[in-house]
């Protein structure tokens, strides 16, 4: 049985081509399989950040954040290998600098808590419509670009 792990990549809007995203998805899947097991698959969600909506050290900066979920309780060494593997891949594929790249390899239950907190920002009354809007966006993006993409703006 194949276990899927979610990878959420937040990037400046328009920063990467469709081909770059595909190479990153393929490469990240290999990083997962080399360090966690051949029966795992990474599932990608691309989160676009419009210009001027991300800051680092209080200055507008086009930072990239990768949240890669890991099996709960993963040992330190494979987790480090995943982190550095993702870093190498991302720098090779995109040419980004160290200071522009933030990567988390979080236990699944912690990543789930974070994503749940994010999903619960809307008032209870609006959560289902927001979820439907998000699903519609993801389906359209999948048909148009082949990737699951949305925006930090709802």
């Amino acid at each position: 049985m194949v276990t899927q792990y979610l990878v959420v990549c937040s990037i400046p809007e328009g920063a990467l081509s469709r081909q770059q995203k595909q190479r990153l998805e393929d490469g990240l899947t290999k990083v997962y399989q080399s360090n966690i097991g051949t029966n795992v698959k990474a599932k990608f969600l691309w989160m676009n950040i419009p210009k001027g909506q991300a800051y680092l050290a209080a200055a507008v900066e086009g930072t990239i954040t990768v949240l890669a979920t890991m099996p709960d309780g993963l040992a330190t060494q494979p987790r480090r290998s995943v982190l550095y593997g993702i870093q190498r891949l991302w720098k090779t594929e995109t040419g980004c600098q160290d200071h522009q790249l933030i990567i988390s390899a979080a236990d699944k239950h912690v990543a789930d808590q974070f994503l749940m907190a994010s999903r619960q920002r809307p008032a209870a009354l609006f959560r289902i419509p927001v979820m439907l809007k998000l699903i519609a966006r993801l389906l359209v993006s999948k048909m148009r670009s082949g990737h699951l993409e949305t925006s930090v703006n709802l």
Partner: protein, 130 residues
């Protein structure tokens, strides 16, 4: 890390974003002693918050901060939102989540534990100069 996501119902102007990003960065650094270059702030708009809510702040911070430090951060963020957005305490939601430093790469290296930043930054500067 920390990563703070500021969510509002309507888009904020550049000026307000600048003020909030500067305020969040400053307050986090003052309360924790962390360097500003670790602090990331992202704005998310068109979020249908609760009826009386004006702003939601979700922060993931490195594990190891005391509950007093976290309470101080939360209280200062409420003050910041009051100053910049004119919100009352119940119109702003502030949520903090802990993430172990060893789970994160930032600036090219695995992040230091809270309190070990100076050595980490020194090593990084030295390795850049090599």
């Amino acid at each position: 890390m920390p990563l703070y996501t500021v969510s509002t119902k309507k888009p904020l102007t550049h000026d307000v974003r600048d003020q909030l990003a500067a305020g969040i960065t400053q307050l986090h650094c003052d309360a924790t002693g962390a360097p500003a270059e670790f602090v990331q702030v992202v704005f998310s708009f068109n979020v249908p918050l609760g009826k009386h809510k004006q702003v939601h702040l979700l922060g993931s911070i490195r594990s190891g901060r005391s509950s007093e430090t976290k309470q101080l951060i939360i209280s200062r963020f409420h003050q910041l939102f009051h100053t910049v957005l004119r919100t009352t305490e119940d119109q702003a939601v502030v949520q903090l989540m802990d993430v172990p430093a060893s789970w994160v790469i930032e600036g090219g290296d695995i992040m230091p534990e809270p309190g070990e930043e100076a050595e980490w930054l020194e090593n990084r500067t030295a390795s850049r100069q090599d």
